[in-house]
């Protein structure tokens, strides 16, 4: 009798778990991807994944992705993309080096960068609306513009790489990195879940017309969302620069795509809307960094790394983004 009861209780829990999983496939899939990577890499790397040194390395590389994709959350929640981020970050890094080398002040450099990111945010948000352009066009424009500027900036120095002797070591301390991630994530979590900004950006992504009819000045909030992204880009650029103290023509160029891939891995729908969650950025960017780190640690041939990454990406995506309505999703 007792046993039967136990069994039925177990069954109940099991069925509750399965129904939860069924209802939250996309959430579960992104976590499952991360956990799976952790477990597999732990084994294949002979445990080196968890050596103190590697954890600090992982932290250092994940921090920029995480901060930038946390900011990108606001933009992606609206169903937009910003493909200019990479080029922007490259220019910011260079600019900061120039300013630091000229004045010795990191603060001034950061401040100038912040102003620029806010301007770009306003541009992406407002100009797109005023000119009635899809925002991908303005960001494409910014990508060309900043890409060109980055190129010219490096060229103007007569060297292929620009560097500074400023001591950034404080930014590489693990506790500073963790603290920064926690603070940024905390602020984003707050903004995203408990303020108008988060709710409106998701609303714009889900149904812009309705959102506008609920008294939301969509243009204004688009600009704010892009600006919030800008702030994160500025912080991310600072950490990126701190890592090497130098920048060149290709610095950060891959970030636009990296951030997008990270968010998708975290379960973010590119159409934006209500399914956008803070964990998309956290889980996604962590999985993304982990993949590169773990695959190399596991001694996978470099030519196969891309292939394995692609397969993992497809699996996560199929699990998390599958659309069950009858029509083929666009």
């Amino acid at each position: 009798m007792e046993e039967i009861k136990k069994e039925s209780k177990f069954k109940k829990i099991l069925s509750a778990v399965t129904t939860y999983i069924r209802g939250h496939v996309s959430d579960v899939a992104s976590y499952a991807g991360l956990v799976l990577c952790l477990i597999v890499f732990t084994i294949t790397s002979n445990g080196r994944l968890w050596s103190t040194y590697n954890v600090s390395v992982l932290l250092e590389s994940v921090c920029v992705y995480m901060i930038v994709s946390l900011g990108a959350l606001f933009v992606y929640a609206m169903g937009y993309m910003d493909i200019s981020v990479g080029a922007q970050m490259g220019v910011y890094c260079l600019l900061m080096i120039f300013i630091i080398n000229a004045t010795g002040s990191l603060l001034l450099g950061f401040f100038v960068m912040l102003v620029l990111t806010l301007l770009c945010g306003a541009f992406n948000g407002a100009v797109a609306v005023w000119l009635k352009l899809p925002s991908i066009v303005t960001s494409l424009f910014l990508m060309f513009l900043f890409g060109g500027i980055q190129y010219l900036m490096v060229e103007s120095t007569g060297s292929s790489i620009v560097s500074t002797d400023y001591d950034f070591s404080i930014f590489l301390e693990p506790w500073v990195i963790i603290l920064s991630i926690v603070v940024v994530a905390g602020v984003v979590f707050y903004l995203f879940n408990y303020t108008k900004l988060g709710k409106y950006t998701r609303g714009i992504g889900a149904n812009e017309l309705t959102t506008a009819q609920c008294g939301v000045n969509t243009t204004k909030w688009k600009v704010i969302a892009y600006m919030a992204f800008g702030v994160c880009v500025a912080i991310g650029s600072l950490f990126l620069l701190a890592r090497t103290g130098s920048a060149g023509k290709g610095t950060a160029s891959s970030y636009a795509m990296d951030v997008m891939l990270a968010l998708i891995l975290g379960g973010m729908p590119l159409s934006g809307g209500m399914k956008a969650k803070v964990r998309c950025a956290l889980v996604g960017s962590f999985t993304y960094s982990l993949l590169s780190n773990g695959l190399i640690l596991s001694g996978v041939d470099t030519t196969l790394v891309y292939f394995i990454k692609a397969i993992i990406f497809m699996i996560v995506v199929i699990l998390s983004c599958r659309d069950r309505s009858g029509l083929l999703p666009r």
């Binding site: 910014l142 890409g147 997008m260 729908p269 891309y306 995506v317 999703p329 666009r330």
Partner: protein
């Protein structure tokens, strides 16, 4: 409509479409001359513009075919690159010629397109995300296949016939004809149009979407195959990673949008050709000015793109404004229902 007005109409439309490249040409000519460069117009320029514009047109049409049907396909670039690598290397190893290269390019591009479409249909993942995934997959294969050497056959004259004048017109004509034939004259092309207009309704009327997507992808694959042929015949292809093929795609996307706009005056495919020619006039002019690559080229290109977009987005408003002014003078009340029902 009388025969005469029909002819006038056709001429007018053609003129409007051709105005874009003509304008760019004249502007670039003036700028180069003003800078003391007298070699803008030359035989090399014609050859260069023709070969580049052909490649641009083919790739742009492949992007456009999906775009037109409501899908944004990230994987086009990767499909093309991978097909070119496989087809090219097999042809090399077999000691084949251009025709074999062409056949294999088309074959592999179709195979990969069908694969993409099948994964899309089976997985039901939104098309952008799905094709991003397939792009990563195809890019990763460039490392695995043929010792990651990519493809370098540009100097094999016997293999790259179709990348050069005059044979380059063969893939161009085939692709143009295929595109126009498919979108305007075939059953599936018409169905694709209905699907892109209103997916839900079209499906409920009884159009089988899966079949249509598959067929559209096959056609797109053929176009991409010719793209691979020309691309592989003109450029050295190296391994690709982290969506680098999408930037190849992006670099050809501007003619798509411009073509869509100027194509309104005539047939959209012709618009794409005109846009491609126009863009190549621009590029070649920039080359002559010494800013054909590097920072300035990017900035100029970006500015040009934004300006064009901004203009075309406002074109409706400008037209409306003109109409209003005209209406005021002629006191003709338009009987047009407002947008609101």
């Amino acid at each position: 409509m009388s025969m005469k007005s029909k002819i006038v109409n056709v001429l007018k439309r053609t003129g409007l479409t051709l105005a874009f490249p003509a304008l760019i040409f004249v502007v670039m000519l003036i700028i180069t001359l003003a800078n003391g460069i007298n070699y803008y117009v030359s035989g090399i320029m014609v050859r260069q513009v023709v070969t580049d514009a052909t490649l641009t047109t083919i790739i742009a049409l492949a992007i456009y075919l999906q775009f037109k049907n409501g899908r944004f396909d990230f994987s086009g670039g990767a499909t093309m690159i991978l097909s070119a690598i496989i087809a090219g290397n097999i042809t090399l190893q077999a000691g084949g010629n251009s025709v074999m290269f062409m056949v294999l390019s088309v074959l592999f591009a179709v195979v990969f397109s069908v694969l993409t479409a099948s994964v899309y249909i089976a997985s039901k993942v939104p098309v952008i995300i799905c094709t991003i995934g397939m792009t990563l997959l195809y890019e990763s294969l460039t490392y695995v296949l043929f010792d990651a050497e990519g493809l370098s056959i540009i100097s094999r004259v016997d293999m790259v016939l179709f990348g050069r004048v005059p044979y380059i017109f063969i893939p161009l004509v085939i692709v143009l004809a295929l595109f126009i034939f498919f979108t305007y004259f075939t059953t599936e092309g018409r169905r694709a149009k209905l699907l892109s207009g209103n997916q839900k309704v079209a499906v409920s009327i009884g159009i089988r979407e899966n079949k249509n997507v598959l067929i559209t992808y096959i056609v797109c694959g053929v176009i991409l195959g010719f793209g691979a042929l020309v691309y592989g015949s003109q450029q050295i292809i190296t391994t690709q990673s982290n969506l680098s093929t999408s930037s190849i795609l992006f670099s050809y996307i501007v003619p798509v949008f411009i073509g869509m706009f100027i194509g309104k005056a005539s047939v959209d495919a012709v618009g794409v050709v005109a846009a491609a020619v126009g863009m190549e006039f621009l590029n070649y002019g920039l080359d002559c000015l010494g800013v054909g690559a590097g920072g300035y080229q990017q900035i100029i290109f970006g500015m040009f793109m934004l300006a064009f977009y901004a203009f075309s987005a406002q074109a409706g408003n400008i037209k409306k404004l003109l109409n209003k002014v005209v209406a005021k003078f002629t006191k003709q009340e338009k009987k047009e229902l407002p947008d609101v029902r």
